[in-house]
Symmetry: C2
Subunit: 452 residues, 2 copies
């Protein structure tokens, strides 16, 4: 997606910038991008989206055409438009790398830059992190619920447009899915692609068995037959008969797919019928409006399912289709160029001031026990999660391979309490505020209340 997305910006970023241009041209600021509160049933987030943020920073510029459009709105001065024409991002960005686990209130991205530059990237940054971290976090839950069984992303047809379809496949793979049905995502990101067959394929032949035969003759070792177009039991029988023919010819039917009905009883029945026929190796794939809640129930009730194709509910994160992700000013320079901490004071939505870091602490077995939200300059033992990814406008971080990011999710999760992985988690991983940050927060609150 090499579109020019520089205008993918909320108008107010431009209008505020024009005002900054007039009154605060020299100001620098720090913004934190973070999730205010976790969505229901989420105990953690999987950091995702950094690759696209960095690509955006690399490409960010306003073309002649962009400037003409802004000019046509008749609210921007020629001076400001000239400034935009030469705009380039010159700030620093720190971020939690993709594949790390993080929590509410922890900045996933921290931007320090001339205030206009920091402001103009807000919309794209929020949009990107919202989608990608939301989906990686959701998909991670689905993968957990599968208890080691393969989960495959089948969501393309219901994701929010083409772009989301591609990004969802990447995020789901990072979160531990085995692959995707989305061929373009497979091509762009080198993700394994897979699929089965549709009801329409079965219906396009006079008899179900004819459709199965045509398919397995095309893909003798790769066929997964959909058995519920007419009658599931008959469908399984037809699949077995085709599977036995294949066996005689030295091939193996890969699997059958159940897409409706009571998956628990049908999968048990299918397993029994397949085993009796000597087709123990034929896998059972379940699909049909699955999510982590349903998968957990299926497995608790003993469903004989080897893998899950998960679509809509993972691809749009149905139970929480957005993150409460925000981008808040935490410091701004005064006339002398000194950074002064700041914060939002309004009751329910107050924020933490100052330039911050997240420190993850572990016990002697390497298990993570606590995160500390601290001021950057505080000396707190542990591993800092935010690393520098952009230095004076230059991207200084190389995104690891997708498989490496994927591994790091798995490795990271293994070091938290398993209580984090439950479908209905009661456990809350401790994130504490450092003494220094607490002090600054209460001092500044008082100050701001006095000042207003």
């Amino acid at each position: 997606m090499k579109e020019n997305l520089s205008l993918l910006v909320d108008l107010y970023e431009f209008t505020m910038s024009q005002s900054y241009f007039l009154y605060k041209k020299k100001s620098w600021a720090t913004f934190d991008l973070f999730v205010r509160a976790l969505p229901p049933n989420r105990a953690y987030l999987v950091s995702c989206g950094l690759e696209d943020l960095l690509e955006y920073i690399r490409q960010l510029k306003f073309t002649k055409d962009d400037i003409s459009f802004l000019k046509s709105k008749k609210i921007f001065s020629d001076e400001f438009l000239r400034y935009l024409r030469n705009f380039r991002f010159r700030g620093d960005i720190w971020a939690i790398p993709e594949g790390e686990i993080f929590f509410a209130q922890e900045p996933m991205v921290r931007v320090t830059a001339p205030i206009i530059e920091a402001q103009l990237i807000e919309s794209y940054f929020l949009n990107t992190v919202n989608l990608q971290t939301m989906i990686a976090s959701k998909a991670s839950r689905v993968v957990n619920a599968g208890r080691g069984r393969d989960v495959i992303d089948f969501s393309l047809r219901r994701t929010h447009g083409a772009w989301a379809g591609i990004k969802v496949a990447r995020c789901a793979y990072i979160a531990g899915c085995q692959g995707t049905s989305n061929v373009l995502a497979g091509k762009l990101y080198n993700i394994p692609v897979s699929g089965t067959m549709a009801h329409s394929f079965v219906a396009a032949f006079k008899k179900e068995k004819d459709s199965f035969l045509s398919y397995v003759r095309t893909f003798p070792d790769k066929s997964i037959l959909l058995v519920d177009t007419y009658n599931v039991k008959e469908g399984i029988k037809n699949a077995i008969s085709v599977g036995l023919e294949l066996k005689c010819e030295g091939h193996r039917l890969l699997g059958i797919r159940l897409d409706s009905g009571d998956i628990v009883s049908l999968s048990k029945l299918a397993r029994k019928m397949l085993d009796r026929a000597g087709l123990e190796y034929v896998k059972i794939l379940a699909t049909g409006n699955l999510d982590e809640f349903k998968i957990e129930k299926l497995l608790k009730r003993g469903a004989c399912v080897d893998s899950f194709g998960v679509g809509t509910n993972m691809g749009v994160s149905t139970d929480a289709p957005s993150l409460d992700v925000i981008y808040k000013l935490s410091e701004v320079t005064d006339g002398a160029g000194r950074f002064l901490p700041t914060m939002k004071l309004s009751k329910a939505k107050a924020t933490y001031p100052g330039r911050k870091q997240v420190i993850r602490q572990q016990d002697k077995n390497g298990k993570f026990i606590k995160d500390v939200l601290a001021l950057e300059k505080e000396k707190i033992p542990g591993r800092p999660l935010l690393i520098k990814v952009v230095d004076k406008g230059n991207v200084v971080y190389n995104i690891p391979s997708l498989d490496r990011i994927r591994c790091s999710v798995k490795d990271n999760l293994a070091r938290f309490s398993t209580a984090l992985l439950e479908v209905f988690p009661k456990y809350k991983y401790p994130v504490v505020v450092s003494p220094g940050l607490k002090k600054l927060h209460s001092e500044l609150s008082r100050q701001l209340m006095r000042r207003q």
Copy 2:
């Protein structure tokens, strides 16, 4: 977005196609794209997405690069890949134009084409209609709830990626929103863009009033001041003081924005304070997790709000973030090239067979009273909703201007019972199945049950 999206396809479309290529190369088929059931609280859908479907058909081809990728999967024959390299869509497509109102079970798109061609466009078609019709339908509800007040799309930061951000702005505008905050969408689709200011802007100045002054001096007649960064009442006072200064200078403060707290009491307070100060013309804009449910409550409780900025809940359709949109085979040719009706038989998910049309019937006052889902060849009085948009692979339909589509939504809705527009509708618009279709459905059900 002129990306090559031809590979934005679920893998099984290609594998099924290779099997069709071997066993049913000459077959033609008809597929219906429709919504199985309306999401909760929805009484109607607003057709949206056709523009992108037609653009896709225009551009659809598999490049050398695409073919290399498919070849690398080692499941496709050279013959089939050669076929794909020369692929072009040659079929007919009928569709319900953008801006029409339609209902569950009514085909929004009907495709008749060589079976491979009809199959390969499935993923993109579903993906596109799912997003765009879902959002237009949701936004239409939000606009209804506003009872004539302006509703503006502020959703960019939470839509599912860049593409969704742009499409949501277009769909929301079609549905009746006044504009969008999304500058790129404004540029691409000529949608009015608007915005206010962020809390960070206020926090970037030492005093709230300084921030207001800087802003209004930049935009003397276009400023909407955000008053809840510290204390709302003080914020309103500061806005009034700035508004009065502007007034002396011959300018008008455009509005204030409330983003938190009890919007009902705060908006009443603000209105009173503004009016007393002689600023009756200053508008009140409300934002903050709004949707049709909250807007209706606010207005019922007498909130003094002139316009609503609606973000996340409209932009991701939070309460129903996907449509149950499907693409089902309804007929396929036999060996002699005759189209034979077909259908899916599985219990909960049965479909209607044959080539269909939707007929909308009206009373003598022009009010719509009933839709009839009929076979195309049946003679049923009324207006057919599906029109031909692609003929033998050529797009033969010109998308009307956005404003015209937007008007048609309004005009169409005005001809239905107002009960359709309620936030919690109890009314169900009648969609009946024609005698011919009923007969075909029951005959074919029996036939299929016998055959399997």
